[in-house]
Amino acid sequence: MPALNIVEAVRLALREEMRRDDSVLVMGEDVGKNGGVFRTTEGLFDEFGEERVFDTPLSENGIMGTAVGLAVNGFRPVAEIQFMGFIYYTLNHLICHAARLRNRTRGNLSVPLVLRAPYGAGIRAPEHHSESTEALFAQIPGIKVVVPSSPADAKGLLKSAVRDPDPVVFLEPKKIYRAVKEEVPDIEYLIPLGKAKVVKEGKDLTIICWGAMVKVAEEVALKAQEEKVDVEIIDLRTLYPMDREAVINSVEKTGRALVVHEAPKAGGLGAEIAATINEKALLRLKAPVLRVTGQDITVPMPKTEDYYIPDAERVLRSIRKIMSF
């Protein structure tokens, strides 16, 4: 069982799925010979050839539109968008066609594709390379939105995404692309979409998070322990449709909840989580559900980006606020 980082785990998942199923294609900018700007598709071009791993002209709208056509024609395209900041061009085809064709044709046509993109700040990247706009996607009926937080999850979730009968937006937390290596089983395994994971059990307060924020939550949980707060951590894994049951079950136990995400607060997914908890578990709440998030501003450039992203200090402050409510 090799120790892999997320980049390698993504690559392994793609390779396994491409070997298993001839209809799986990889497409995007620089995914071929160059192996992707983050090297997530490295080696696939050599193994599967240019008919299954191909560079496209530089147009995200074109990538998305042709991927829909390929999917309707029985392929399972895995399309890469180089950074989340360039994904907005895909929204029209994603919303109008990928997400709706099944419904439009009463189940006759479907669009089993995966749209992959690295997201998030923290790597000192230029403008437009650091955003977390998952909330734009986690409201589009007909698609699924998935975010892994570890190498093992990346493999299992991406494999499920490739096999899913519906379009999946698969967002990769690039801050932790290479941050940790962990044992990733090289046998076949799938992690189901739509199910959250309890990363750590605890009885006082539930942190709900995903992607790179899971690591922050883990760090915080240790510090909170020192303050005698026993934190439970839920990694949503699938942001949409959300595993409400897992969230509610946990909050019913702990009575306190905190959402941590990198996206801006207003209109972010933390709102949906807080609203759901409020709706389904109000009487169990011992304190308001707080949100520690990115700021409601454009992600700053490298010199000030650290101000933007939630860190342990900010999360701890909110935990104390909740505990002393």
Partner: protein, 362 residues
């Protein structure tokens, strides 16, 4: 060889029949059986009949917004008739005439504009993509589909149809460019009817022709008289054959005219000079082809009567089918969002059902 022969940059346009229906291009007049020729005429008549009916139904409150095809009969029928069984059609939303030929009965089109999703649940095996309302968005999808056929080494081409307005969208640019780069077996058919709602062709692009836009993508483009069903048929057929044989994409600009309003919600007299409409009435594709058939001794009053009666019957039947089609059920609006219904939709469905039942009970 038609493609490559008519250079849009030189103002050349392919025509077989002139406006009176006389053959002006004997060399390229397709040699078709009488049956086939009558078939063209029949399809054009059915298209116009179905169109007139839909317009009337809308006015009677029996249909929602509907985009009339009047004037497009030759381009829709000529292009669809040029396709082989294995080809795929990515239609323009105005393409009722083409759908019918590709095995989608008229009542589907009616259902669609009546506002029932079942109208896009085409019969099994119909190789037709549903209408796409976002103008031009079928273009890159069609190209992706065609690319898939090429990857699978299937002998199959995609005919992608759209309006002049659609050429301004990024989707046109992307579809054309990807098709060029991947040498996709795609034929782009622009039904240039001179208007995009109230915006004239000249406001859409400063290029003299749409056909010349193919230069930007490295494959041939040509203009064809879109009211000449024989010219459309021949050009599209050659382009599809070429595509299937690995010869790459072609852009065909069909020079035609929207003889009616943009949709039933539009009033073209607000923005369109009457003389222009009058001038184009003289170029009516059906009248022109009738003249051709008459000159060939094929058309007779009797034939017209029989075909028109048949068309009326087909259309009446379509109206009947559409109007008696079961309404979607409440469940149907949830059922097809995903392959498997996720828990939150189950919950919403149950709640909505309860509310609706309560409402009914009151």
């Amino acid at each position: 060889m038609i493609i490559g022969k008519y250079d849009p940059l030189k103002g050349e346009r392919f025509q077989v029949l002139d406006e009176t229906g006389a053959v002006v291009n004997e060399e390229l007049e397709p040699q078709l059986t009488e049956e086939k020729l009558v078939g063209f005429y029949r399809q054009m008549l059915i298209s116009r009949t179905a169109d007139t009916k839909a317009f009337a139904m809308q006015r009677e409150g029996r249909m929602g917004t509907y985009p009339p095809l009047k004037g497009h009969e030759a381009v829709q029928v000529g292009s669809a008739m040029a396709m082989e069984a294995e080809d795929w059609l990515f239609p323009h939303y105005r393409d009722l005439g083409a759908l019918l030929i590709r095995g989608v009965p008229i009542h589907f089109v009616y259902l669609y504009w009546i506002g029932n999703e079942a109208g896009s649940r085409f019969p099994d095996g119909a190789r037709v993509f549903p209408f796409t309302v976002p103008v031009g968005s079928q273009i890159p999808i069609g190209v992706g589909h065609a690319l898939g056929a090429k990857l699978r080494k299937e002998k199959q081409a995609a005919l992608i149809s759209f309006g002049d307005g659609a050429t301004s969208e990024g989707d046109f640019h992307d579809g054309m460019n990807f098709a060029g780069v991947f040498n996709a077996p795609a034929v782009f058919l622009c039904q240039n009817n001179k208007w995009a709602i109230s915006v004239p062709r000249e406001r859409q692009t400063a290029a003299k022709t749409i056909a010349q836009k193919a230069v930007a993508y490295g494959f041939p483009g040509m203009q064809v008289d879109g009211n000449d069903v024989l010219a459309v048929f021949s050009a599209v057929k050659e382009a599809l054959d070429k595509a299937r044989a690995g010869g790459g994409p072609t852009l065909i600009e069909a020079d035609t005219y929207r003889m009616s309003d943009h949709t039933t919600a539009d009033d073209a007299s607000r923005y369109r000079p009457e003389e222009e409409v009058k001038a184009w009435e003289k170029k009516d594709p059906i009248v022109r082809f009738r003249n051709y058939l008459r000159a060939k001794g094929i058309w007779k009053e009797e034939l017209e009567k029989n075909l028109q009666e048949e068309a009326d019957k087909i259309v009446e039947e379509a109206v009947h089918q559409a109007e008696n089609f079961p309404l979607p059920e409440l469940e149907d609006i949830f059922r097809y969002t995903y392959k498997e219904m996720p828990p939150h939709l189950e919950e919403e469905l149950a709640e909505l059902k309860a509310a609706v039942e309560k409402r009914k009970a009151d």
